[in-house]
């Protein structure tokens, strides 16, 4: 038998952890985010990042994108438990490696320093669609959209150019092509 997640028995087998992106469509009502997040914390699941906003004004539907890690069994439980919540309409899940899905995070970098460093910082971001949102003589605010690990890397690399503050979102996801999440 494959081993279980029972808290009361010990298990010798180590299962592989995968990173999954779970997309949840919910009624945008009071407390709904607390329900979803509380389910994760209450059952001991991880949340790596979280993005949430209303996507349908008329039907008052919000779309929550959660990046989580777990064994296949845990991820399956997460999905099934989410589907049980009354305000949840639909749950989609895919692996981070899934080629059929695009996912992106956004980051804002504030760089403070002399002009040459500001320029070099902007240049370093070139691969990630940098947008200069604010510029003064001493500072830049650069917006990039990229993958999580790319933003991780940039947050490190930009330090030498005078990075003083980072603000970033959780991942959002969308299927490629004409398909939509089922």
């Amino acid at each position: 038998m494959p081993n279980s997640k029972s808290a009361y028995s010990f298990s010798n087998k180590k299962e592989k952890f995968d990173t999954h992106i779970i997309v949840v469509w919910v009624d945008n009502e009071a407390g709904v985010l607390a329900r979803v997040v509380g389910l994760f914390s209450g059952r001991g699941y991880n949340i790596e990042s979280l993005a949430v906003a209303q996507v349908d004004e008329k039907l008052k539907i919000s779309r929550i994108t959660i990046v989580t890690t777990g064994t296949p069994q845990v991820v399956n439980q997460i999905k099934l438990q989410l589907k049980k919540l009354v305000p949840v309409h639909k749950v989609a899940d895919f692996k981070r490696e899934d080629k059929a899905v695009i996912f992106k995070e956004m980051a804002l970098f504030k760089i403070v320093g002399p002009n040459n460093k500001l320029e070099r910082a902007l240049k370093a971001c070139k691969k990630y669609n940098p947008v200069l949102l604010d510029k003064t003589k001493k500072s830049n605010v650069i917006q990039i959209t990229a993958l999580r690990r790319e933003i991780d890397k940039m947050s490190k690399d930009l330090k030498k150019f005078g990075l003083v503050s980072v603000s970033r979102t959780g991942a959002v996801a969308m299927t490629r092509g004409a398909d939509i999440f089922k």
Binding site: S9, F10, A30, L80, L85, H89
Partner: protein, 588 residues
Amino acid sequence: MSKLYSGAEIVFKCMEDQNVDHIFGYPGGAVLPIYDELQNFKSIKHVLVRHEQGAGHAAEGYARSSGKPGVILVTSGPGATNVVTALTDAYMDSIPLVCISGQVPTHLIGTDAFQECDTTGITRPCTKHNWLVKDINDLAETIHKAFEVATTGRPGPVLVDIPKDIQFQKTKYKKPKNENKLNGKSHNHFNQNSIDQLIDLMSKSSKPIFYTGGGVINSGPKASELLRELVYATGFPITSTLQGLGSFPGDDNQFLGMLGMHGTYEANNAMHDCDLMINIGARFDDRITGKIDEFSPNSKKVHIDIDPSSINKNVKVDLAIVGDVKTVLSSILKSLKQKKSKFLKSNKQKTSKWWEKIQKWRSVRSLDYIGSEETIKPQYAIERLYELTKDKDSYITTEVGQHQMWAAQHYKFNKPNRWMTSGGLGTMGYGLPAAVGVQVAHPKKLVIDIAGEASVLMTIQEMSTAVQYNLPIKIFILNNQYMGMVRQWQELLHDKNYSESYTAALPDFVKLAEAYNCVGIRAKTPEELDDKIIEMLNIDRPVIFDCMVDKVENCFPMIPSGKPHNQMILGPKDQENKKITGKGKSLV
């Protein structure tokens, strides 16, 4: 123009339309407008408890014995927090409850007002869903929805929090809608293909077993009837979880007794050695499975459950059928009759060796105990209670601990909805208020709370409720002066260091009964036990029965923690040979 009703009136209008006849509650500042309306709704009787936890458990007892949702009415703040244990209990055991709580007026929410607490926040993880009603126009719809959520799919508790100003405001009343959509939360879609697969597995199996649980009870009395039909049609052995007792006759030859930590030797060994396990409405709880890695290693497993998240949660299964037990069972029976009308005959040969093996396990007589003529053995007390009440269609509730396990082992249930016990959460103090609720639902029936002296003290105040409403519940206390199960674990795992498990100053339960204005009876010797029990049964008033039992008796058989089904401790002698060591010690 239609009539306008206040929020408080709407609460009762909704209850009328939901056929509520009893509510269990306790008044307070934030629900006074609702209590003010109570007198105008004659069809709804209010049972005043002595503590909100009691209201919750009473509502659970009411729900479990009647199949209807239990309704609770409490005030804000402490009223709501006191009911949390009962809500959690109902959530774990899938009992439908609707809890209406008062809240401070909307303009005071968030100001740390008097008796304010974040009720929906606190109860979010222990309810199926909850609502804070901030607009009077949503009230009726929300309450109807609350009843729907509580009673459909896998049942469970819900809570509606109503601020005091909403209770005063007026609006039109909306009747419940008849649509039963529930946002896709009720699952009853399985296909014929999986039924066929199951029948195929059944006909190939030579060592089958049915493992049934509370889901059969929750699916209604019809499900228990169908289960019996199926078990007789197949000739397979059947075992049941704590919660499933009564769905199949406890004295039937095909019934192997309860399984799990304190289950019978034959049930657990059959679970371990079977080649086909058919789980009907149970959830592979850790008290059932024992060591999960070695749980029934060579069997095909089938899981029938209404909750998709129960499937593959603890144990991976080979075939899952998601649906209501009643519907699935009638499907199986229909197919069985069509395709294998001679099933029993053709199968008898195949399973005969299996039954021989089971008989061998049975002959171990794992529920036996060493009797005594001086002291009352707790098992003996339950046996006598059973023998003297078995013709009475009695309803049994319990607290939590050794007495609960002895009751499950030695009291035989033949009908569903007769056995109310806190299984998932294991709430001491459950049984007395639950008995109050059961008696409210069944005024003419015999209702007994098989209790321990430690548990019963947690909610003893509800005796006062029983007396107020002339509810002739019988509190049958197996009094060993210890928290028996704690003592047993300390003996087995903590080198007999009985840390804080002895209650050095117990009340005199007979005098306590008199103080509550009910009847106290004490039995000290096996000789007088029968007469005293008969005396108790002949009293049409609430009784506290103080049964002084052996102080150090342990509950056997037992699967020690960290061990699989086939390594049970059978009794005191066996205990020495199978000491719990190493990692097993750290498990609960």
